[in-house]
Symmetry: C2
Subunit: 151 residues, 2 copies
């Protein structure tokens, strides 16, 4: 699944975010027939945005879509989704969520499963290292991004 | 609670959305000490946005805030929040969610309560009528907004 186009796009989006000095998380929404519907990365630092997490950024960039397109789609995200992004996947009833890693942050994976959404975790070492480095170098921005007070 | 500044702002935001021909849902985030931190309304039709529901729009307009400010805050929304907006309130750990009405749509109220967030429903007749009218006149846009196929 690491060879999927969706994963590659999400992976590149995370690195684009890192290159911009932002929170390095990327996402990509792929239709049932393999077409990239949208892609994006976390824009907290670039746009001063508290809501443009990678998955929200990706959904926003995909634009308005018919409900049926979401229902067969897969959301690829480089990091386990927070409650907001989990909720967005539940609301739009995507079929599957493929997660690059959940070592640095464990989000709403159980809730996705409860709602009948397939969850795949890839445990990607590159993404684990990318996120670990960001959290070490920018703890304040990281904890702000998940609504927690800096530790 | 209908006399709260937060409710008034959210109510006016919903009507602003209606005047613009959009999905008439408004929201307002108020700090523990009663200060309006942000406000907004659904921008699906105005901006072609699939993620700017009222609550997300409100959080986005509030900008980046320290986690501690959310923790004591109240999110006022004119309609019961969908899974995405519920998740946003859970992620940012707001203290309370005040809901104008839940007759036209029942969202994640139980999930909010499970997460320890206080939920108040006002059953406001004006908001019930406003939403009912929109759903009757724009069923396709409404169902698209909640990720469901038009009935």
């Amino acid at each position: 699944m690491e060879s999927d186009i969706g994963f590659k796009v999400a992976f590149d989006e995370a690195h684009k975010g890192a290159d911009e000095g932002g929170v390095p998380i990327g996402a990509c929404l792929v239709s049932a027939d393999g077409k990239v519907l949208g892609q994006g990365h976390n824009m907290r630092m670039q746009k001063g945005s508290p809501t443009l997490h990678a998955e929200i950024s990706c959904l926003e960039n995909a634009g308005r879509l018919p409900a049926s397109l979401y229902h067969g789609a897969t959301m690829y995200t480089t990091l386990s989704p927070c409650d907001m992004c989990t909720g967005a996947c539940v609301m739009y009833k995507v079929k599957r969520v493929v997660i690059g890693e959940n070592k640095n942050f464990l989000g709403g994976e159980e809730y996705l499963k409860q709602k009948g959404i397939e969850v795949v975790v890839l445990h990607n070492k590159d993404l684990q290292a990318l996120m670990k480095k960001f959290i070490k170098e920018h703890p304040e921005e990281w904890y702000e991004d998940i609504g927690e007070e800096s530790k």
